[in-house]
Amino acid sequence: MHDKTIAELSAALAARELSAVELTQALLDRIEAHNGTLNAFITVTAEQALEQARRADERIAKGEAGALTGIPIAHKDNFCTAGVLTTCASRMLHNFVPPYDATVVARLEEAGVVMLGKTNMDEFAMGSSNETSYYGPVKNPWDTERVPGGSSGGSAAAVAAGLVPGATATDTGGSVRQPAAFCGVSGLKPTYGRVSRYGIVAFASSLDQASVIARSAEDLALLLQAMAGFDERDSTCVDLAVPDYRAGLEQPLDGVRIGLPREYFQDGVEPELAKVIEAAVEEYRRLGAEIKEVSLPHNALAVAAYHVIAPAEASSNLARFDGVRYGYRCENPRDLEDLYMRSRGEGFGTEVKRRLLIGTRALLAEYYQDAFLKAQKIRRLIHNDFIEAFKQVDVLLGPTTGAPAFRLGEKSADPVQMYLTDVFTIAANLAGLPALSLPAGQVDGLPVGMQLIGRHFDEARLLNLAHRFQQATDWHTVRPQNFE
């Protein structure tokens, strides 16, 4: 049952072919068996999960079940979960048990899901390989010598390995799409403002968006349905009706205009991987879509602008971790200054510190104009590129990454090489657009992700396109050998 989708499990639960407790126990057993290898979970909440499963079974028995009742999921460890350790994969929060839930966590619980635990990630979501975690790297289920991608590597690996059918994630610069691509699963970053950020430990406020990973577009639709919508606790969460995502999945693609941004097919894409994407484009042509080349002329500046804006916001967002009210506090501080310097210096890992330093510098009065303000202007140009492109096409398509999953340690010594792995995903965050990565094929036995980017609040279209592709192909059903 571990290889089934949420939609299939939901049907099985409703038909009483399976109980939520059985399902939960089976997956807990799988986690027990494989987490040692994968390191995908930081915390497993077995007892709580079984209790939730029992309640789900009661709801199912009473006929009160919804589509997600009794469905086991995992939360990325930057979602606050009341009474459950929430570490952000950082020593800084190694002991942090929040007394409150993130809005997304509360909504999914309301929808009846069973939480199996909290997934590993890059520390404070800063990373593209999951190697910056205080709890050690996550391994890619397709090849445990390779990274699962990041920052939502734990969620992606857990879903890919069949430890859980779906998981929450976050995406600030590609943190759901890149690991989804590396692990051969589907990942959706909704439009900025579509899902509440309340209770998600902030990395970069204007870029972060709660996201979701699953094995099919249909499952993404089911999970997003429960997560999306207005939250009065988040000023940047919009009050806009949430469409019925599942209802739009089957729409035919006749006449849908798909744009291929020229810049997404140039340097930085391995030829074998480009072939996979080209084949996927052909599939869409067969499904009735019109294919057009478009241009995003400022895309080459996205990584640069991102690595000013994201660390600048982070330098301020992470100032609250000071060893006073929660989290790590250094031993025997000599004075207040020492308390701050050492609690933060010892509590944060190297990559987080690098970003806080870069971000702090970008906001100094001396550099503000040339660094922060300049980056925000480039952000506007990038945003405008998309607005122009969407006058000609409905969806943009390209590779999620230029290459499949790299080896552990391959890029960890060179932050710039690591940053450049996000070259195709960052722009969607800067512009606040919804973007989805789905498996499109393989190169040397490793999954390749295809990215779809849509207009603001047009998640339904992305899900529709992804679903039609998944009906026509079976790349999304291929599972890593050792975890079948």
């Binding site: 900025y192 403002g193 933060r344 690098r354 300049k374 925000q376 202007k377 932050p415």
Partner: protein
């Protein structure tokens, strides 16, 4: 423009991050490489472009002036590293 080790130390102090002295050169090297990456921004003229603070072209929503939060002090103090008499404790603040 490469970052000098002493600049790293100044910024580290502003950000309240203790960094082992022996690692400062390494930080200086990595941060300089990142700054070089970021310099790519200067290849485009942005005169007259309005900075984009937030991708939502929306305005701030207002909250009615209603008290919605009760006393949760015990729950919050329970997760704090050092407390006494309902207060958070820190090394002496000198004014």
């Amino acid at each position: 423009m490469p970052l000098r080790p002493d600049e790293v130390e100044t910024i580290a102090h502003l950000a309240r991050l203790s960094i082992d002295q022996s690692l400062i050169p390494e930080y200086a090297r990595d941060l300089s490489a990142i700054l070089a990456l970021v310099e790519k921004m200067n290849t485009v003229n942005t005169d007259g472009v309005e900075p984009m603070v937030n991708p939502l072209e929306a305005v701030q929503r207002l909250r009615p002036d209603v008290v919605t939060e009760g006393d949760q002090r015990e729950a919050f103090l329970a997760i704090a590293p050092a407390v006494e008499d309902g207060l958070y404790l820190v090394p002496r603040v000198i004014e």
